[in-house]
Symmetry: C2
Subunit: 359 residues, 2 copies
């Protein structure tokens, strides 16, 4: 089944709006959400719409609140997200980082009390539209064990870095610091609950947990995902945890969940983000800078592939190819997601009518 | 065999000095070099002294030059290393980043025309001594193939990030973005040339190359190391390549070697670095910040280990333990390295006497 990009944006905007998200914010939320489907991050797009709406209905995400810049010093700042939607908080904070970078050269903004902000690279890529280099980091509820550890402590803490280039797309990376992401596990647990991949999650008995059990045990805190590359991913993940919590003196690791004690569907809250922005114009003119970036990507692109038939992809290219396909053919959704969205649409439509009738 | 920390520093300082490195710079070079042995990075310490001296003698490293700040705009700067020793260039650039961070909040300095600067974390840890967060990145001559690729293109491009903490040591990570580092391969090729680890290096025939052959073929450009975690390490490695080259419009990837065409011992040159510094005082008081960092590390440290008998280590702790051991027992060196250093010492002594006699 396919849904056009325009329809996907209108639909999610309408759903957000009817769940009391102010119109100006619904635009942003729909844009962040559908950009994931557009760029090929299927775990973070339409399939997550229901997740956000549930959090709003549960009162965990407080859409009536507005994020606020609570500390503004030189090229640094702290934003309090006041537990509204992470997409609104992220965009608000990145806009401040962009302004500060244009003023000072390089800037950073730490965010507290936010919630899941969608794909990390939405914000780093957004900076490249203003001809800036953007970096975006977030912590998340506990999922990953430290090396030699067994308990989920760090989140899947992704790093997203984007550089504007003279190619058809910016350089862009967006990677979790764990081997497996929580989103991937969710998808596989739904599609093939009883399958497993060795080492996908660890627990005390060293069993090969099925996807369904991995996810359930992860939520219970008795299984954990593993950091990518052992101590390399572990160290980077903790560095991101520190960027996202230590500057704003906020919640970290175990304090990012536990709102509903014992509830397997325990939501994350008080999430922290960290944004860095650099204005290349302080180093050289933007045209030269973009060419410099493109030159590196072209040398990689033109290097010898393992198989003659395979193309070497440069970071950001997969997203570009996905975007082209989606603009042409629309977003592919499976039957299960279609049913979920239909149900969400029906509930929203009912809500709309109830609201109208009660007026 | 063991050599005390003090003796190791004096010896390397003397060797640098007698090879025309000005006294003030010899101090820095010896400090950077021996800090690697102190912190447990054995591939980057005394075992590399001969490497630097050879480069000086070959005229590839030009110790008569002084690094210069050639662009100074807001919180950003470009340093031209003029191909002197990377340690001198790195310290010079980090000092500028530190000053700029104290002034602006966050700063970054791009470096061009440098050479191997020792362990990346020397500079990030140095920032923590001034109560700042430090980040240090460098490119290096081609060694790592892109995903789906076969040719060595990126360097082992490490990332080093350090946060001051209220523990006995700073948070500190220093990791190559490849599975194997060049230094490790050099050590193994010397110790057990005919052994191999599957997948340590790749080439077109998919053979399991021995360590000796891996290193030799790597130098020839027909084998390559692999990025850690597939596209995750690949993306990060390219991001570091861009930080270290695009801002300063300098050399990158293939342009970082090839000085001696066809020579297996081809040195790297025109290396780029990138330093970021953040002053936490713009976010909160330094005492609170250090406690915030310590709190995250303590929660990790106190989490459940895989084996009851094993301790969970936090990033920076291994370096601390190594440092304590070295301060007490000295630096352990094997017979081969001892012979190498003895030879280097004798040559330096001869050089000193020749210089004296010719005066």
């Amino acid at each position: 089944m396919k849904i056009s990009l325009v329809d996907a944006i209108s639909f999610s905007k309408w759903v957000f709006e009817k769940h009391n998200v102010p119109t100006k914010h619904s635009d942003i939320c729909a844009d962040v959400l559908i950009s994931a489907d557009e760029l090929g991050f299927k775990t973070h797009g339409l399939s997550r719409l229901g997740y956000y709406i549930k959090r709003i209905k549960d009162g965990v995400i407080k859409v009536e609140n507005e994020p606020e810049l609570i500390r503004d010093k030189k090229s640094c700042g702290i934003v309090d997200g006041k537990n509204t939607l992470g997409q609104i908080v992220g965009k608000f904070a990145m806009d401040i980082a962009i302004k500060k970078a244009e003023q000072h050269g390089i800037s950073c903004v730490a965010v507290k009390n936010s919630s899941h902000y969608g794909i990390a690279s939405y914000y780093s890529r957004y900076a490249t539209e203003k001809n800036l280099v953007g970096m975006s980091f977030t912590n998340a509820r506990p999922a990953v064990a430290p090396v030699y550890g067994l308990e989920p402590k760090m989140g899947t803490n992704p790093y997203a870095i984007a550089f504007p280039s003279d190619m058809k797309f910016p350089f862009s990376i967006d990677c979790a610091t764990s081997i497996w992401q929580r989103g991937d596990l969710e998808v596989r647990a739904r599609q093939e609950p009883n399958s497993y991949v060795p080492g996908c999650a660890i627990e005390s008995e060293n069993q090969n947990l099925t996807f369904e059990r991995s996810l359930r045990w992860l939520k219970k805190g008795i299984a954990a995902l593993k950091p990518v590359g052992g101590h390399k991913g572990y160290g980077l993940s903790v560095a991101i945890e520190l960027m996202c919590s230590a500057f704003q003196s906020g919640a970290y690791m175990s304090k990012l969940s536990g709102l509903y004690e014992g509830n397997e569907d325990d939501p994350s809250y008080d999430i922290g983000h960290f944004f860095i922005c650099v204005d290349p114009e302080n180093f050289t003119d933007i045209k030269t800078f973009k060419k410099n970036v493109g030159d590196v990507l072209r040398e990689l692109k033109n290097s010898k592939p393992k198989k003659q038939t395979e193309d070497i992809l440069v970071p950001g290219e997969l997203e570009y190819l996905s975007s082209q396909k989606v603009h042409k053919d629309g977003i592919e959704i499976n039957a299960e997601l279609f049913d979920e969205l239909k149900k969400l649409g029906y509930e929203t439509w009912q809500k709309q009518n109830t609201t109208k009738n009660s007026k």
